[in-house]
Each structure stands twice: as structure tokens, then as C-alpha cells.
Amino acid sequence: MATVHAVEGLFADTPNGPRLLGSRCATCSAPYFPKSPVCHNPECTESKIEDAEFGPTGKLWGFTFQVFPPPPPAKYDEPFKPYPMGFIDLDDGLRVLGQVSIEDLTKVAVDMPVEMVIEPLFHDEDGNEVVTWKFKPS
């Protein structure tokens, strides 16, 4: 029984704390998550992609609640428990999707400051704890 990532290579608990692993174009500073081999910004004059970490702080731009069990390929632990999720605008210029990690669902609010965390998403067939990136109020 280990802790495994929902998908490998998307995030890490770095010495500085949890971060999303993406890339950024050195020419036009466009952020990419997941990593992109080339810059897709049509205004960019030269694609210069470098590895970049994103997070941990930002604001919740908008949100919703998943009130029914999501269809596959989503996975969740039984019994299903509703969760909030939304678009998070990170301070470093990345808009990213993610779940909001919060106990009291009535406290979720637009423009709420949040901070990235790595938390359990579900347990797989082998009993492993599968973790992903989420955002908690900061």
C-alpha cells in the first residue's frame, strides 16, 4: 500500500512545497500545464520552451460542486462524497483546473485565495492511496 500519483509527472512535492510541473516559453512567457514540447502562442516569435513549476498560491476564479459520482475515467472512493472544483488563477499566470479541498462546502467563494496541496483522490484496486493536486483556502 503506497502513495501513487493519479498521473505521473504532473506535480511534485518539491523542497519548496507542492508544485505543478509544466513548462513556459522564455520568449513570450506563455505557461503550459502539462508540459508542452513547443510554444503554441501564435503571437510568439520563437518557441523557447523551458521546464517550469507553478503554484502554490492563487485565487479561485469560479467553481462548482460535483454532486453526482462522475462517469469514468474519473475514479472515487465509495461512498461518493460531493466535492467542489473550479478554475484557479495562480499568481504566476497559470489558470488551472482543480478540486477545492475544504470541509465546509458553504465556505467556497469566488475570488477566494487558495494554495496548492497534494491530497488523496481515491484508492486503487491494490489499496494504494492515489493523490492529486487540489487547492485549499489560504
Binding site: V7, P31, P34, T64, Q66, M85, L94, V96, L97
Partner: protein, 392 residues
Amino acid sequence: MREVAAVGFGMHPWGKFEDKSVTELCRHAVEASLQDAGVQWRDVEAVAAASSRFSGGKGWGLNGNDVVEDMGSTGVPVYNLSAGCSAGANAFNIGYTLVASGAHDMVMVVGGEKMPKGFIQTSGVEEHTDPEFLRQRCIGMPGPAFWAVLCRRRMHEHGTTEEQMAKVAVKARKNGALNPNARYRKETNVEEVLKSALVVYPLHLFEICAVSDGAAAVVLCSAEKAKQLTTKPVWVGGSAVATARFDDGITRGIGGMVPPGITHHSEAKAAVAKAMSQAGVGPKDLSLVELQDNTVYYELAFPEEWGLCEPGQAEWLLEHDETTPTGKLPINPSGGFISFGEATTAQGLFQICELGWQLRGEAGARQVPNAKVGMSQTIGLGGNATAVVLKN
């Protein structure tokens, strides 16, 4: 570019039709459009069809070829267009271009779809490079959540209430009740809407379109042909296709840039602006708008994104009945997706049929008085969008 007229509109009603093939639905629509135009299948010089993922097309999206084989293989060129939910109007744009260019004098545009049950999955592939997979596996976020997030943001920015959103559905179903081609023909009320299942907060079941089966067809022709066929042709003022811009605020995968200001649905905005510009009309000239209301949210957001009203004014227009068929800015007099449900690739064409019938004054109890200019719009997977302006 030559003038192009729309002279035939045909539709198979939307609904669930277990016993009919998509070919039969299309045949119904195509035959109705031919009869409406007063022409024969043999007069059709080319076919532009919406390419379906779900039904027909020999598993290769060859839906126009299915129609041609069924109606009679005359040897005409066939164009099958894929553009997600924008496919119908994307095909319309090709039909328009084929006539406008002088390549053909009469073109059939057709879209038909039989939908599988349940949520529309976009690819189903369990692949770590597929953003769709990542969103669902890592975040547990199915497609409709996007609408909900945007909707909740709107509530924050404009104070939109859940009652107001429900009223959009009530208005839609009121129109649908008057439309023999609509699937849901029973009126509803705010209480019933808000009591329907919460699908994804803040959106309820009655505020999101269902999946339906349906087919629609439009006959386009040159001005010369049109004048032989009718004294009252409907003209294609504009037909535009656009895709989302890089700086669009709705990230297509699981991450993108924080956009510079509000840049949502950049593809729809661009298509609408271009179609209106082609037609030489402005927001004030629109007698009616058929917009893609997969959810009630769009009916509030789109008009202001396109400059048809001021930011935050959509709720006011709704509350003051100005978006009903007799209001200042009639939206979805057909009943919209909320009343029809979605037969993905056929949607753009049911809208265009509605424009045609409204402009001819043939829309019965849901008629927009004195309709002169109508606009329709779709938005689809892949960042595709279309807009069409028809006028008398």
C-alpha cells in the same frame, strides 16, 4: 461572391426515435426541404453534410454519402464536415461558399444524428496525453462542470440569481411548447425547474439540454435560381466560421494562461462579429437570435459577449420579457436546445430552419412579429464556432 438564397427548410422533429435509423431521419428532413423549395433531388448539385461521431456515416463520418445513397446516387460531390456541435452550421458555411463562389447553383445542406444515452464523452481514450482524460482522472471533472463554473462566476459578477436562471428555462420551454418540432412541448415554471435534479451546481436538469435524435436540411441556391422558385427568398446575409483564440479564458485542457480580461468563447464572438459584418447589420437590426443554449447560462452570457446588450443587462432583458418572441431581443423563439435537446451535429441546422420560417412569417404561434433579420450561432468541441445571418 454571389448572393445566396435559402429556399428550402426541412426538419424531422427532435426526440428519441428508437425505431428509426439516422438515414430515415435525414430522408424526412431532406424530402421536406426539397418540397419546401419546390425542387427535385436531381436538381441538387452538391451536398454538404454534418459529419457525425454517433450515427451513420459507415463509421467514417461519411454522413453526406449515406444521404446521397439513400436519396439516389446522382454522382454529386459530397462534403462531410466535422466540427463537434458546430458541424451543422459548418456544413452550411461550405454549402454557402459553394454557391457564392459560383461552383454550384443548388446545394443541399443536411445534418442528422441519433444520440447515445447519457453524458457525451469526448474521446474515451485512457491516454495520459489526452487532456480530457487528465481532467476526468485527476480532477473528477466531467464536461458540464465547465458551464457550471462559468455560471457561478457570472452569479458573482452580476448577481444573477438561481431564479433568473430558471426563468431562462421557463421562457425556452414556453416557446418550445408552441413548436411542433420541439421535443419538450410542455411549459414549466421556476419552482419545477429548481426542483429538478441538481446536475452540477448551480445547474439543474431542466437548465441543461438533454440528448435527442433529429435531422434538419436546408436548400441553398443562386439568386437566379431563387427567383425562378419563389417571390420571397430568404437571403444568406452572412455565414462565418471561427475557432478559439490562444488567449481564450476557457482553458481547453487542464491548464492555460490567465487571460487578459474576459475572452470567453472567443470563437463564438468572432463568428458572430464576422457574420454580422458580412450581412452589413448591427445588433439593433436583429429581429431574432437562435443561440446555442446547451445550458441557460449561455442565454445570459452570449448576448453581452457579442455586444447585443450591456454587461449584466441580460437578466434585466429576461425579467422584462424582452427576450420573448414579442420582445426587443427575441432569443430562441424555437425553444432552443433546452426544448429540443441536442442532436449534436444537426443543431446548427434546426436553428437555421427556425430563422427561415421566422423570416417568412411561417412560425405560427411563436412568430416574431415583422421578423426581417435573424442570426444563429453554434459552438463546438475543438474550439469551433459558427454564425449565420439570414435576412429578407
